[in-house]
């Protein structure tokens, strides 16, 4: 099968799985997850085939896999949709396929497949656990299976479909479609346990917040289509189109058309990948099941935002001369860098194991955006992928930890213990070794532990790029952010795994099912190994051991190949220091912290995330409520519209009544009755004459009619 046809087929299996599960296999849990995982595996297979074929192609950046069909007729032209796999989307496809498959498998374990049915579980609430009786007659609680198991797999199937569509699509429109499908799915999945008010609110919040970005993105798309008449990447990213776009000036901030469109699309990214100021939804999104967190906040959706931004890179940098960032780029760089630092600081003060990761995700995405803003294209992609791997790993690991903790909680029966609070953990190293080691690897990768981990290489490349192009502000900000990253990562690891168990639940925590640990192991392999494909040529000692394949491959996407920047010792030393220093301090500080009180860093402003929720609440939510309540509802709706309508209704009713009284009853009904009665009478008279049951009589009658008709036909029509 040709690569193109495979690519066409890649998104379909999850969609089919969705419909199959929803329509048919909803009853049978085993069937549902087999269908979903089978579909994911199919897509994964297709993705791998395509990826390795792409790698096999020489100068793949020049001859990409592309095919398109006519979709919507627009006058005499067609709006084409199609698939495009260039180096960028190839590598994206690679990590997306891997992470999605892993997460699907992980979900089987996380949703307690094979466990008994809960005692009092309700759909829409997390399972409370089930009582079982072992051979000694001891009753004790064990995790119980998710009541809406099949539903979960249906949703993530749809989600996977959206992501694959977004990755393989060759134009903004279908990309946006996948984008929105994912928005819907994130809403559904964050609110998966809709029994919990917090989950409901989080879902709505995520949906609304991202919607803001999406509206701007749609604006950007419409503008682009208006300006160029096409949405296909390949047609947009031609020298001519780009130069035209770059040269046209728009009234807004004196931005060029390219810059404006880039900015608008970038706002979509801001919403999707939770950049400041639209970052607020992501931490709350942790209400969803952990695989969902991993899926949305590591592997797919947030990455999708960055992916879209990277896609638009040629557009954003259309009027980029090489020195001196354009307005758009500087905005992007600023937002990225700021977000990176800002959320890193918040992450330091979080106690919820998943929230820490959520904020760290925001900050890491900030890294990427910043890199993009300063034109470090390859570095951004590189970090996107490595981050996808180790962040998925971390999320799944945390999920595994929580799962183990919940087991302990159920075992002790002390439900006051929050299974997600890191201060209730500690010493899990012994209890759940696989989780520990994989989490450690992920953590080190996140904090950029030198040489060994993937995170180091990608982050180092970003820093080096920033330094080389002399964006010192960005450089310093990111360096500090990196330091904080290392710090809170180590904090997390220390609190969670090292030291002694701080609660009985932690004592009774136990290692999780192989379906959960296996993905951890596989992902940790990538979390370490994937970095080695991007080692700069002239890195001391290691440089050139493995050729910088990634730079070559992905760099081919752009029109002119990004130059390999010459090696500089300073950024390397910086990243080394920040990483190691951060880790060290983190360990030193939290080595023997027993409880929240002893934590020096529980600063109120950090804990409350700089009061962003409150501010937004005050600025937007409350006014909106007020507006809708007082103006829209009370005045406009009730007074004006309803009043008018009621008048009209009354008048109409009056008219209708009079009609009924003086016209309908006497005239219409009278006529109707007259006709009916007449027909009845005539029938009474005619029936014995016509209906006499004599065959010949009928024949005669029909023949008379036939002859009359024939004569008329002949003389009138012929």
């Amino acid at each position: 099968m040709s690569s193109e046809s495979i690519i066409w087929l890649i998104p379909l299996p999850p969609l089919l799985a969705f419909f199959l599960i929803v329509l048919f296999t909803n009853k049978s849990k085993a069937l549902s997850h087999s269908v979903a995982i089978g579909a994911a595996a199919l897509s994964w297979l297709g993705g791998m085939v395509v990826f390795f074929r792409a790698v096999g192609v020489e100068h793949f950046g020049k001859e990409v896999f592309h095919s398109s069909i006519n979709w919507i007729p627009t006058g005499d032209t067609w709006l084409k949709i199609g698939i495009l796999i260039d180096p960028l989307s190839a590598v994206t496809l690679f990590f997306v396929a891997w992470t999605i498959l892993m997460i699907f498998i992980y979900s089987v374990g996380y949703q307690n497949f094979g466990q008994p049915k809960g005692d009092h579980d309700l759909p829409g609430l997390p399972p409370h656990g089930a009582t079982i009786e072992d051979e000694h007659g001891h009753k004790h609680m064990v995790p119980s299976i998710e009541p809406m198991y099949s539903r979960f797999f249906a949703f993530i199937g749809l989600f996977a479909f959206g992501m694959y569509t977004l990755v393989v699509s060759d134009n903004l429109l279908t990309m946006f479609v996948g984008w929105e499908i994912m928005g819907l799915c994130s809403y559904l999945l964050i609110g998966f346990w809709y029994g919990k008010p917090s989950a409901r609110n989080a879902a709505i919040k995520a949906f609304m917040t991202t919607r803001i970005g999406d509206v701007f993105m749609l604006l950007g798309i419409s503008f682009l289509y208006w300006a160029t008449g096409t949405l296909s990447f390949q047609e947009i990213f031609t020298e001519h189109t780009l130069s035209v776009l770059a040269s046209t000036v728009t009234p807004i901030f004196g931005l060029s058309a390219a810059g404006l469109i880039g900015l608008l699309l970038f706002i979509g990214t801001v919403g999707k990948s939770a950049q400041w100021p639209l970052h607020v939804w992501l931490p709350d999104a942790m209400e969803g099941p952990t695989p969902v967190s991993a899926m949305i906040h590591a592997a797919t959706m947030v990455s999708a935002g960055v992916y879209a931004a990277i896609r638009m890179f040629p557009l954003i940098t259309a009027d980029f001369t090489g020195h001196g960032l354009t307005t758009t780029m500087s905005i992007i760089a600023f937002i990225g860098a700021f977000t990176a630092l800002f959320s890193a600081t918040i992450a330091v003060a979080q106690n919820d194991i998943k929230r820490v990761l959520a904020y760290s995700t925001i900050s890491q995405l900030g890294f990427m955006i910043a890199a993009l803003g300063i034109g470090a294209y390859v570095a951004a992609i590189f970090h996107l992928i490595t981050h996808a791997f180790f962040k998925a790993l971390l999320f799944l690991g945390s999920g595994s930890v929580i799962h183990g903790m919940e087991h302990g909680v159920l075992h002790t029966g002390d439900h006051s213990i929050d299974a997600q609070d890191m201060f209730n953990m500690g010493g899990l190293r012994k209890k759940m070794p696989i989780t520990f080691w994989t989490f450690l690897i992920g953590g080190l990768a996140l904090s950029g532990f030198p040489v060994l981990t993937a995170g180091f290489w990608s982050k180092d490349e970003i820093l080096a790029d920033a330094f080389a192009h002399g964006h010192m502000a960005v450089f310093i900000t990111l360096a500090v952010a990196a330091f904080l990253t290392a710090f809170y990562t180590m904090r997390q690891i220390t609190l969670t795994f090292l030291g002694k168990p701080r609660t009985k639940s932690a004592e009774h925590a136990q290692e999780t099912h192989w379906t959960m640990t296996m993905p951890l192991v596989i992902l940790s392999v990538f979390a370490i190994g994937f970095g080695w494909f991007g080692i700069p040529e002239d890195f001391p000692l290691l440089g050139g051991l493995i050729p910088n394949w990634f730079h070559e491959f992905v760099g081919g996407t752009l029109a002119e190949h990004p130059e390999v920047l010459e090696f500089n010792i300073l950024p390397l030393l910086t990243s080394l220091t920040v990483a190691l220093g951060g880790l060290l301090t983190g360990w030193l500080v939290y080595r023997n912290v027993k409880s929240t009180q002893e934590d020096k860093l529980q600063i109120k402003v950090l804990k409350n995330k700089y009061y962003f929720d409150e501010i937004y609440d005050f600025l937007f939510v409350k006014p909106a409520y007020w507006f809708s309540e007082t103006f829209a509802y009370k005045f406009l709706d009730q007074t004006v519209i309803d009043g008018f309508l009621n008048r009209v209704g009354a008048v109409a009713a009056g008219i209708g009544h009079s009609f009924r009284q003086y016209f309908d009853a006497p005239v219409v009904n009278g006529f109707g009755d007259m006709v009916g009665e007449g027909a009845k009478k005539i029938g009474k008279i005619m029936a014995p004459i016509i209906q006499r049951g004599r065959i010949q009589y009928y024949m005669l009658a029909s023949l008379v009619v036939a002859i009359i008709v024939a004569v008329l036909y002949y003389f009138l029509l012929v």
Partner: protein, 170 residues
């Protein structure tokens, strides 16, 4: 006035007169016999049209089978031998009028057709019409399907007739 035309006119006279007798005579057996005469005339017409096979089939089917069946039926469905009273129902006038109208209408329409009074061109010599007909009846690209359907129809009619006419034995 060629011999053909003479024969035709004689046949036409035979056919029309005996057909009229069929629909008017009181004695039903006579009607059936007149029908035989009419059909025999039709057979002669077929012969005149150089469709000898059809002529013989006409004789076999109609005179040999159908007419006999009619006579049987007439004899089986009567109490007394002679048919008394009028054999025509009361609205026979309308019927006659209609029949006449049909005839007139048909003739009128036909006469307005340009191919109305064309004469036949001689049959191609050396071609055995019977052979052609047989091949046409059984060749898959011609009329084998209608042929088979007709045979099925005959079988069904056989079974159905036997079933209907057989006196219920309970």
């Amino acid at each position: 006035m060629t011999p053909d035309q003479i024969i035709f006119l004689l046949c036409a006279a035979l056919i029309v007169s005996s057909a009229l007798m069929v629909v008017t005579t009181r004695n039903l057996v006579h009607a059936a016999l007149w029908l035989v005469a009419a059909l025999f005339g039709v057979a002669i017409l077929y012969g005149l049209l150089q469709a000898g096979f059809l002529a013989l089939v006409q004789v076999v089917v109609y005179i040999g089978a159908i007419a006999i069946l009619f006579i049987f039926a007439v004899m089986l469905t009567r109490r007394e031998k002679r048919d008394k009273g009028p054999q025509i129902n009361q609205n026979w006038m309308i019927s006659a009028l209609l029949a006449f109208l049909t005839f007139g209408g048909l003739t009128y329409i036909l006469s307005s057709w340009d191919g109305f009074s064309k004469t036949a061109n001689a049959l191609p010599t050396g071609v055995d019409t019977l052979m052609v007909l047989g091949k046409a009846l059984v060749s898959p690209d011609a009329y084998v399907l209608p042929f088979e359907v007709a045979s099925i129809l005959l079988l069904a009619a056989l079974v159905g007739a036997v079933f209907i006419a057989s006196s219920s034995k309970e």
